[in-house]
Symmetry: C2
Subunit: 180 residues, 2 copies
DNA sequence: ATCCCCATGTAATTTGTTACATGATTGA
DNA sequence: TCAATCATGTAACAAATTACATGGGGAT
């Protein structure tokens, strides 16, 4: 499933502009699917060329016309077909974990800084989740709620794991060396 | 951090061929960093061209010469520099979660099949982890152990979450409809 | 017989990222 | 006055995937 299909899927929640979709990629989709304008706008053009969406241009003053896309019947069918894959992948690409693999080659302080940064990222994600929970999750389709919950579960597992195991990557206490 | 750097890092555990590295990408690195021959072989060529590794060709009968790569002093320095980034990313690209987002558009049986498939993938990962634990983890550097543990923690969190929440994506019981 | 393991690599294609290009409005 | 938000898009570039190309040895 590529950016095109995800954009099409997002449009099942109502018409939206490329700018709107970007915000969705940055918020509710942020923890499992990334896309920038450089992918989104071409994706929407492609969907339009293939009649999977229609486009309504809304003139605005001082800004480019706002282009609101709406999924078509063909679009719905295309999406359903794309969703038929019963073995969708789930890939992690982690420079963080790759770096940690080689922690023994690094100064232990540096390792701890990286861990702190990762914890901070997790905390900011959890903060966003809390906002969703207080505002709008209840109105989301069951699948979207499931996905947010999964993100929450993974984030919590990572947080706990890092806090409980970071000491294994700390420097050997100097006292030990002196004693040995 | 790209494939080149990860290959270089892998070579800190001892000399290896492209074929050997591929096996490592498929096993201990599988849960957070993917690479195929199409990335690995060009990466090793690049590392060799830049004197970050040396190469020893071992003639073999009936097979292409086995090329064993060894990290050089320059390679070590290059790696240390690459490891200096204190904000390494951790990205998930999940067609699985993207699909689940649109679960309400799909036949509920199909959703459950996808969930079963995901659970099977998690189980096979956990199986691999157990093998590592029984055989070799103890000899791994602390960082690599930390990373395997993280994979285990994430896998367990996902497994538990799916099992506890899959019912929210099931079809409404027909009895209810009849009663309503 | 057939399949998997060993072992290397290239070329075409797909995909996505980053930088560039433009510019008014609103709130601090 | 400064930053952020709104709003679109293209072009160059980077990176990885997939298919292609080859072929002996060993196990079932």
């Amino acid at each position: 499933m590529d950016v095109k299909t995800v954009c099409l899927g997002m449009l099942t929640n109502g018409p939206a502009s490329g700018y709107d979709l970007k915000k969705e990629f940055e918020s509710s989709f942020a923890h499992f699917f990334a896309a920038g304008y450089g992918s989104i706008y071409p994706a929407l053009s492609w969907l339009l060329d293939n009649d999977l969406v229609s486009c309504q241009e809304i003139p605005q003053e001082g800004k480019p016309d706002r282009k609101v896309y709406r999924i078509s019947e063909e679009g719905h069918q295309f999406l359903l077909k794309a969703l038929k894959n019963t073995e969708p992948c789930h890939k992690i690409r982690s420079e963080f974990l790759a770096t940690m693999c080689f922690a023994h080659l690094m100064p232990p302080e540096d390792v701890q800084v990286i861990l702190d940064h990762r914890l901070a990222e997790i905390a900011s994600f959890q903060c966003m989740v809390r906002e969703f929970e207080q505002e709008c999750v209840a109105e989301w389709p069951a699948g979207a709620q499931f996905v947010l919950g999964m993100g929450k579960a993974i984030a919590e597992a990572m947080e706990t794991y890092i806090k409980e195991n970071r000491h294994t990557l700390a420097a050997e206490p100097t006292a030990r060396k002196a004693a040995g």
